[in-house]
């Protein structure tokens, strides 16, 4: 019996080739989209699950409330980790990472191995405790996993780095010098396996924290927060209760007294303003969107939901095609249904038969879909920026796919099979069946649904693209074009000034500035606090950035002073001067700031200028308070060029570099490129979203194409008679298309409010955002209409041009 079902299903597939193609191809696209997105989602939600004991590992997060503004952070003081381990029996282990570039050697360094001459630039340095290796379950290729970081001045490098510099040789015991500092050797004590692509950590160098102290007393001070702190709880600990107890104890026992002795005005209220939380290790990747200073490579659970829903919608749109085409084509099957009933089939047997058919189609679609997704995998990989793989070998992949295909087959086939099996044989055999028009109401609403989704996706895509372009091209308070950032200039030590002067002499260079602080995420940042003169311990401290710049910085960056003057190189008194941004002036309530003095930890600085606010975070946040101090921070030298012959300038700069540093490669980046890199993640999401929106629309159009073909076929006789009676080609075309266009217009009117609401919500995340104008909706509407019209026209025109004699003769 089943064999018979499949046989007839197969023959039906072959008989209606275009119908089957659209069904299978559409469904395959849906399946491929679902598979790819599922793999993506699984990857994103599998972060750190490979860490042994991961369910008991937590990262400490904190909340600082200031004038009802809530800041979430992940930086804690150096002694938090050891204190927590000591004070609470629930804590089994604790460890720290210190990756803040503000501190020497964290972030990026120039490295040189003992016995070699060349300096190499490497990134991904962090300080780490030995216990972090234990907590993260790091596996070692060489070296002792239990003691690798227990001695001072030791370092563990990743396998990737080891292979890059030592090939297959064991580098343990080799000495490494950082930034040309030949008096300060580090010993390589281990090679660890690279962090997995689904680890929230991505470091290549772990420098031991053993005996490290950044400034006197830093390791025991409570108010200097620079460390990521991880703890392992004993299994069975009540996390919520412990979280509360830990927070209260730390604040009351340590933080309050520390603030009190530092003379901080509001120390008594600290318990109201500081909250501490424990974030499960496996939540870090997807649930850190609220945390500032978190790596921009973190994903967001919202994105995961959106992608999941989009994938599901594509599958639903494809399934709707199946339902629509099956019921539309029902007349073709009606005779068979009637006959089978007459010769003895029961209704449930017929339902079984039609379900078997849709399962067969679904199975084929899934096979094609898997092939399609494997084919698209490389593209998707580069789009998502993740090394995703098809989980062929993973347990359950094939059975799950098989089950999913049967499930989709049943779901898509359910309505058609009930509908088809319900035909009354007598009507069918008499030929009385009004062919396929019975369920046209349902078909229409399904088409409306498909196009509603498609239009929402079109609007979404347009607005996401607009917003991204807005961010990348809007005025950010500085000029990012034609600026070359030369890295690693700290290797020059005091010669950096000379290097700067040499560069300034080059033709095509308009100005040169040396500073590590750039309005680009990932360059140096810090946190100081400021207060007006004489208000120490009285007024609230204003947290703000303290950037060290030279006198050419403002010009090179194309920033503008709204008040006062720039630093002057020769003026010694400028060492006690400060330039503040507008946000800082506002926070400090300085109406006429020039000449006023502000205090940083008791030291006074005179405000000599106010710089116009510029963005130095992503455009998601508003501009925070900031101060410029005069000085040298030598890692990055920025060069503003004023010529179109960029390559000539670059090669002359490189020649200069070679003259200064013969043993290290010239490394540079254009500022606009590094600026747009800040939005890599957003850009990736944009392109994935766009791709899947296009897929959804494509599948919806396939369905519309088939449906219109069928509707036109249905009305061929009517149109022929009309033509014989004198109807023109245009009137026939209009007649055939107007019903579909009405559906699209309904879909538009449903989609626009929904899209407006959704995109409004999305835009809320951005401090700097576009206004949604009606034109976006108009464009989306026109796109949808045009696509639909072109799709329908194909068959409508064919029908309008047909020779009526041909049709009528065969009646």
């Amino acid at each position: 019996m089943i064999r018979n079902y499949f046989k007839i299903a197969w023959r039906n597939l072959l008989k209606n080739k275009s119908f089957s193609f659209i069904n299978i191809f559409g469904l395959s696209i849906g399946v491929a989209a679902c598979i790819l997105i599922t793999i993506y989602i699984l990857h994103e939600s599998s972060y750190d699950s490979g860490v042994p004991n991961s369910e008991n590992v937590y990262r400490m997060t904190g909340q600082y409330i200031e004038d009802s503004r809530v800041n979430n952070g992940i930086h804690f003081s150096a002694n938090t980790a050891s204190t927590v381990l000591k004070d609470f029996e629930e804590v089994e282990n604790s460890g720290r990472l210190m990756a803040n570039q503000l501190f020497y050697r964290a972030g990026s360094n120039e490295i040189r191995f003992d016995g070699e001459d060349m300096q190499h630039h490497e990134e991904g340095f962090t300080y780490a405790d030995q216990s972090m290796i234990d907590i993260m379950g790091v596996n070692m290729v060489y070296g002792d996993v239990t003691t690798a970081l227990t001695k001072p001045k030791t370092m563990v490098i990743s396998q990737r780095i080891a292979t890059k510099y030592f090939k297959s040789e064991n580098p343990v015991g080799r000495i490494m010098y950082l930034n040309g500092n030949n008096e300060d050797p580090f010993e390589i004590t281990g090679v660890m396996e690279d962090f997995a692509s689904n680890s929230h950590l991505d470091y290549d160098f772990l420098i031991t924290l053993k005996d490290v102290e950044f400034g006197e007393g830093e390791q025991t001070r409570w108010i200097q927060n620079n460390y990521f702190t991880y703890i392992v709880l004993k299994s069975g600990t009540n996390v919520a209760a412990f979280e509360k107890k830990m927070g209260t104890t730390l604040i009351e026992k340590y933080i309050k007294p520390a603030f009190q002795s530092a003379g901080f005005a509001g120390w008594e209220q600290m318990h109201e303003r500081i909250k501490m939380y424990l974030q499960p290790l496996t939540d870090i990747n997807l649930h850190s969107a609220h945390i500032s200073f978190e790596s921009s490579s973190r994903n967001d659970i919202k994105i995961i939901w959106i992608f999941g829903i989009v994938a599901l919608f594509i599958l639903i749109i494809a399934s709707i095609n199946f339902v629509n085409l099956s019921t539309a084509k029902s007349a073709n099957r009606a005779k068979e249904v009637g006959l089978r009933k007459v010769v003895g089939s029961t209704r449930s047997q017929l339902i079984g038969q039609f379900l078997a058919e849709s399962i067969l189609i679904s199975l084929i679609a899934f096979i094609v879909g898997i092939a399609l997704s494997a084919l698209l995998m490389p593209l998707f990989r580069s789009m998502s920026g993740i090394d995703l793989i098809m989980p062929w070998s993973s347990f359950g992949f094939i059975p799950i796919i098989l089950m999913a295909s049967i499930f989709v087959g049943i779901l898509a086939g359910l309505y058609p099979s009930f509908y088809l099996s319900n035909f009354n044989p007598i009507n069918v055999l008499k030929g009385k069946l009004s062919s396929g028009s019975k369920s046209s109401g349902l078909r229409s609403s399904l088409v409306v649904f498909q196009f509603t989704i498609s239009i929402i996706l079109i609007v979404g895509t347009l607005i996401v693209n607009q917003q991204m372009n807005f961010i990348l091209n809007s005025k950010v308070g500085f000029e990012k074009d034609q600026v070359v950032q030369i890295y690693s200039t700290n290797i020059l030590n005091e010669r950096v000034e000379t290097f700067k002067e040499e560069l300034e002499k080059l033709p095509g260079v308009s100005s040169v500035s040396v500073s590590d602080y750039l309005p680009i995420e990932g360059t140096k940042r810090n946190g100081n606090s400021f207060v007006n003169e004489g208000k120490d311990g009285i007024d609230e401290n204003i947290p703000g950035q303290a950037w060290v710049i030279d006198e050419d910085y403002i010009e090179t960056m194309g920033m503008s002073l709204v008040d006062g003057r720039n630093f002057i190189a020769s003026r010694a008194s400028d060492e006690q001067a400060v330039i503040i941004n507008q946000a800082m002036a506002k926070e400090l309530n300085l109406i006429e700031p020039i000449g006023k003095r502000i205090s940083r930890y008791g030291e006074l600085y005179e405000v000599i200028g106010v710089v116009e606010d510029f963005n130095f975070d992503t455009m998601k946040t508003s501009v925070r308070p900031l101060c410029f101090f005069s000085g040298i921070s030598p890692s990055i030298t920025s060069v503003k060029i004023n010529t179109s012959n960029v390559s000539a300038v670059l090669s002359s700069m490189e020649a200069k570099w070679k003259a200064f540093v013969p043993n290290m490669a010239f490394r540079y980046e254009f500022m606009d490129a590094s600026f747009s890199k800040m939005y890599d993640n957003v850009n990736r999401i944009k392109s994935i979203f766009t791709a899947f929106a296009i897929l959804a629309i494509l599948v919806a159009c396939l369905g519309l194409l088939a449906l219109s073909a069928y509707m036109v076929e249905q009305r061929n006789k009517e149109m022929s008679i009309r033509k014989v009676l004198g109807a023109s080609v245009q009137t026939i075309f209009k007649l055939l298309t107007k019903n579909f266009l009405a559906l699209i217009i309904i879909a538009l009117s449903v989609a626009i409010p929904i899209a407006y609401y959704l995109m409004q919500t999305w835009l809320q995340d951005y401090e700097y955002r576009i206004d949604m104008s009606w034109s976006v909706f108009a464009v989306a509407g026109i796109i949808a209409m045009t696509i639909a019209l072109v799709t329908i026209s194909y068959h409508a025109v064919k029908s309008a041009l047909i020779n009526p004699a041909k049709i009528l003769r065969s009646e």
Partner: protein, 222 residues
Amino acid sequence: MILQLKNIFKWVNSGGNRVFLLNDIDFTVNEGEFISIMGPSGSGKTTLLNVIGMLDDFNEGEYTFLDEPVHTLKEKHRARLYKEYIGFVFQAYHLIDELTVYENIETPLLYKKHSSSERKAMVADMLDRFNIVGKKDLFPSQLSGGQQQLVGIARALVSSPKLILADEPTGNLNSTQGEEIMQLFKKLNDEGVTIIQVTHSETNATYGSRTIHLKDGLIVNN
């Protein structure tokens, strides 16, 4: 006696008027009869045949089929009855286009509890009997009208019904093909199959043992 109709009425309401499709039909069919129903277009021939075949309802009257009172039976029970005992032959053959000759004949058996080897034997028997063994793998579109109708009859007979209902079985055939089909019916009838056919043709009617004339849903003579 195989079936008996008693005062069967069937009507439709059209604009307040009751239009009778079957008007007080009374007749009995005995086992082994070959009955022809004749009458002008719209006289209710096909409706009567469908009522007998239990494909269609009637509004009033009593219908007894093999001692079962059909008018009191539930739809499901009725369906079981006609599937078991009645074979249908149609004017337009109504073969399933996607199935081969062999599969078309096999279809009714699929819905009864026959093992696959039983089915094979039964279909082979039919193919043999109608001399179409050589065509068993062809599709309906590859056959002439007469051949298609042969397959239609083979399909109707394969599950050995007690009664064959044929609605203008030769209506789409030329005279030679038509005559062959009628000869076949005659032969089947001789073998003991009860047949009721609807026909327009006096010649075809002569193959039957009895003719019923219908006009406006009324039996004119018996």
